[in-house]
């Protein structure tokens, strides 16, 4: 009887599902997004939702090249201080307003000036923006700034309807109006976000679903259970330990993409007095010994079940800006011990501040065991994430397990972290030569020049080790095998254009 029920029920359920035309794409998210206003938005998961709601001036493709979206072409002036963009014709916002250069000007100025904006830092180099004609806009920069295109491929390039933004004022996030393939229907906090197809979308051929619902389910096991029981068609951030089980289930497919971010351990080498009080912070040889005591492949295997790529820089080895001359070192306990002898501290001890997320805790325990063999005594100090941020900012730590979600342009992965006195420079490193090269990479416009600058930065950073980079995670998607059109774009955001349920 039970087997009959077991086979009948899914069939019945499927029949019902097929009756309602496969028109709603149901997506399971790992968190609840924050405010749905591109100007104030602050979370990674919010960007996943924006991908369906708000089109941007430009986008990135699988190789992280900048490609057109609302802008069709662009060119820099000879001195690289003026960016002229040609806009797509015939685009309208969800409320019917026309998208034109005036709208772009409004949006950029809103990003720069709105109280509570999180985009002002990204757009600081843009001093002014001019409307040349309804379909041409001109950005004026104070100095050349290559990462600008990548910023415009993210939230800083998202365009909202000026009329709606002005009317709603501070409450824009309650009912966002953009120009993406789907428009906002409703949002119930922590329950669901519902979008419906926007019939006047400029690329309407690529839009195959009538509705999309995003449902946050923080527990990975439950999220996967929802996929398996048919409640979701697509889930993001599958737990690496669940991948093996999914491989044998041909109802579902798995996509893995190397992220543009990284997982690493930040070491306090100059943020506060604690740096000098601790051998790890004081002596670069101790840090080198620490790095040599780690088996990155082993860490990837145990912590991520192999679903990550070993790395030792802020970009992954397959990235164009990776310094190929500095590959990840292999574990070498003998050399580590020798270095410690040289430094005069055969058994250094330090506290590793670890956020209470499961990945961070696993890393900390593995690192503790591995480093022990070289003589290190690693004490794990579990700290709630919110608290750990504050402590890191004050320099009240010795080492800190910290990941970064990544930005399309390498500048976003390194400038704020090793630039002198920058907001995310928890290590407290400050070398004028590094700053010089970081700025050179920002102002240089051709690839070769930028690569060279970053190579110089890498040489110094890898020697000083303010951050010991460990690996680059795989973005793991799991979805209904009948869903086609999933693109492997390294920023980990699902593009809904082109998705189809067969």
């Amino acid at each position: 009887m039970k087997t009959i029920l077991r086979t009948l029920l899914p069939a019945v359920a499927l029949a019902f599902a097929a009756a309602a035309p496969a028109q709603t794409l149901r997506i399971g998210l790992a968190e609840d997004p924050d405010a749905l206003d591109p100007t104030t938005a602050r979370t990674f998961v919010g960007r996943i939702v924006f991908a369906a709601l708000c089109d941007k001036l430009v986008d990135v493709d699988e190789k992280l090249n900048i490609v057109p979206q609302l802008a069709t072409s662009w060119e820099w002036s000879a001195d690289n201080k003026v960016l002229t963009m040609k806009l797509r014709d015939g685009v309208v916002f969800h409320d019917g307003e026309k998208f034109d250069a005036a709208a772009v000007k409004f949006n950029i100025e809103r990003h720069k000036t709105l109280q509570g904006s999180n985009r002002s830092g990204e757009l600081r180099p843009v001093t002014s923006i001019d409307v040349v004609d309804p379909l041409t806009v001109r950005f004026n920069l104070a100095a050349p700034f290559s990462p600008l295109m990548a910023a415009l491929a993210d939230r800083a390039g998202m365009m909202v309807s000026p009329k709606a933004a002005q009317a709603a004022g501070a409450n824009f996030a309650a009912r966002p109006v953009c120009a993406g393939p789907y428009r906002f229907v409703e949002r119930v906090a922590q329950d669901r976000i519902v979008f419906e197809r926007f019939p006047q979308y400029w690329d309407k051929g690529a839009v195959n679903f009538e509705r999309i619902t995003y449902t946050p389910v923080p527990d990975a096991t439950v999220r996967l259970a929802n996929l398996k029981s048919g409640q979701f068609d697509f889930i993001e951030r599958v737990a690496s330990s669940d991948i093996a089980g999914l491989k044998n289930d041909n109802r579902f497919k798995v996509t893995r993409i190397t992220e543009i971010g990284y997982q690493g351990i930040t070491i306090n080498i100059g943020k506060s007095d604690k740096a000098q009080a601790n051998p790890l912070g004081k002596d670069a040889r101790v840090r080198e010994a620490f790095e040599l005591s780690l088996d990155r492949e082993g860490i990837v295997q145990v912590v991520m079940d192999g679903e990550a790529t070993v790395g030792n820089q802020w970009v992954a080895p397959n990235n164009a800006f990776y310094a190929k001359g500095l590959p990840p070192p292999k574990r070498d306990i003998a050399k580590a011990k020798a270095l410690l002898q040289q430094a005069g501290v055969p058994n250094p001890s330090f506290t590793l501040m670890t956020p209470t997320t499961s990945d961070a805790q696993k890393i900390a325990q593995v690192v503790q065991a591995m480093a022990k063999e070289a003589g290190f005594d690693v004490k794990i100090q579990a700290t709630e994430f919110a608290t750990s941020l504050n402590l890191a900012d004050k320099g009240d730590f010795e080492a800190y397990v910290l990941a970064w979600s990544g930005r399309a342009d390498p500048d976003g992965n390194i400038y704020s972290f090793v630039g002198c006195k920058q907001p995310l420079n928890y290590a407290g490193i400050c070398q004028p030569e590094i700053d010089e090269q970081l700025n050179a990479a920002r102002t240089a416009s051709n690839l070769a020049a930028r690569q060279k600058a970053y190579e110089q930065v890498a040489a110094r950073v890898l020697k000083e080790r303010p951050i010991v980079y460990l690996y680059h995670r795989n973005w793991l998607y799991a979805y209904n095998a009948k869903l086609s059109g999933i693109r492997s774009i390294p920023d980990g955001l699902l593009r809904v254009q082109g998705l189809k349920l067969n």
Binding site: D34, A174, A189, Q231, E384, S416
Partner: protein
């Protein structure tokens, strides 16, 4: 009775004041800088400064408390800094969900607890008693997030009978709504069932040895009639009033159950807000649920007095 009512009402105000100070103080105690955690991963200094000003973080504690309480007294519970939604809106959105879950859990608790209590009392000191006791106490002894995940794995993944998580409003689809609430209601209800069962048992035992029951037996009425018709009615009273109190606790949010089953009720709202340092949300929601709890308490006590004339003095 009226005098009693007024006396109790007079105590509600100072209690609520203490509740507000307690929950405000606890939030402020939380370590870390809320502006930093709310600023997201980019940590833009301009944004952090703006948030600090907006949340009055650089003002002394009593001033911040005054800002908040002033707003509350005017009906403004503040807004969630994370999603920019007014706290009052969030509460109104989630109240029906929490109430529905609480009522369903209560129903489960009554369905298990009352019969178990009767069985235990009538079959006192027999295996029926022990069996019912262990059965009811089992519900209380299991961490509900563990039970929840086990149930999801069995009923959603293995058998596919019920949805793994989420919530559908009853107005939209009553069937789906009940399907989604079954497991969380059971997980929550079994815990309370034990408490109800114990009280039902002791109330029944007390009543069963009372004079009027002996009289009924002496009159020759069957045991079943004695139990169901005479004893039960009187034993139910204290149990019902206790049930009202447990309802109050349920309303405070079945924090972990909602987390596991992703039911968008108060519990999940509060937990996420604590970890995101979204002060206004925690303070506002706890204030509202504490008020509800206190009011329910008062109603339960009044009901107890109304039903039990011997206690009126």
């Amino acid at each position: 009775m009226l005098e009693y009512l007024f006396k109790r009402l007079a105590t509600i105000v100072p209690t609520l004041v203490f509740v507000s100070m307690l929950i405000f103080g606890l939030q402020q105690l939380l370590p870390g800088d809320p502006a930093m955690i709310l600023a997201g991963e980019d940590q833009d200094p301009a944004l952090i400064a703006h948030l600090r000003a907006k949340l009055h973080l650089d003002e002394p504690l009593p001033v911040r408390y005054a800002y908040w309480i002033g707003g509350v007294l005017q009906g403004d519970l503040g807004e969630s800094v994370r999603t920019q939604q007014p706290v009052l809106d969030l509460i109104v959105q989630k109240l029906p969900v929490t109430i529905e879950l609480a009522l369903l859990a209560m129903a489960v608790a009554l369905l298990i607890g009352i019969p178990a209590g009767i069985v235990a009392a009538v079959g006192r000191d027999t295996p029926w008693d022990y069996g019912a006791t262990v059965f009811a106490l089992s519900g209380l002894s299991m961490p509900n997030f563990w039970l929840g995940i086990l149930m999801i794995l069995l009923f959603s993944v293995q058998l596919g009978w019920l949805p793994a998580s989420g919530y559908v409003s009853p107005a939209e689809d009553l069937r789906a709504n009940l399907a989604a609430m079954v497991m969380p209601a059971i997980v929550l209800g079994t815990g309370i069932a034990a408490v109800l069962m114990r009280h039902m048992r002791s109330a029944m035992l007390q009543v069963l040895s009372a004079d009027y029951v002996r009289t009924a037996r002496a009159k020759g009425l069957s045991e079943r009639v004695v139990v169901l018709r005479h004893a039960l009615r009187n034993a139910l009273t204290p149990v019902i009033t206790l049930g009202a109190l447990e309802l109050g606790t349920l309303l405070s949010g079945a924090v972990l159950t909602e987390q596991v089953f992703t039911i968008p009720g108060f519990g999940k709202l509060i937990i996420d807000a604590v970890f995101n340092r979204d002060y206004a949300v925690v303070q506002g929601v706890v204030l509202v649920t504490a008020t509800a709890y206190i009011v329910l308490n008062l109603l339960a006590d009044l009901a107890y007095f109304a039903v039990n004339p011997r206690l009126r003095h």
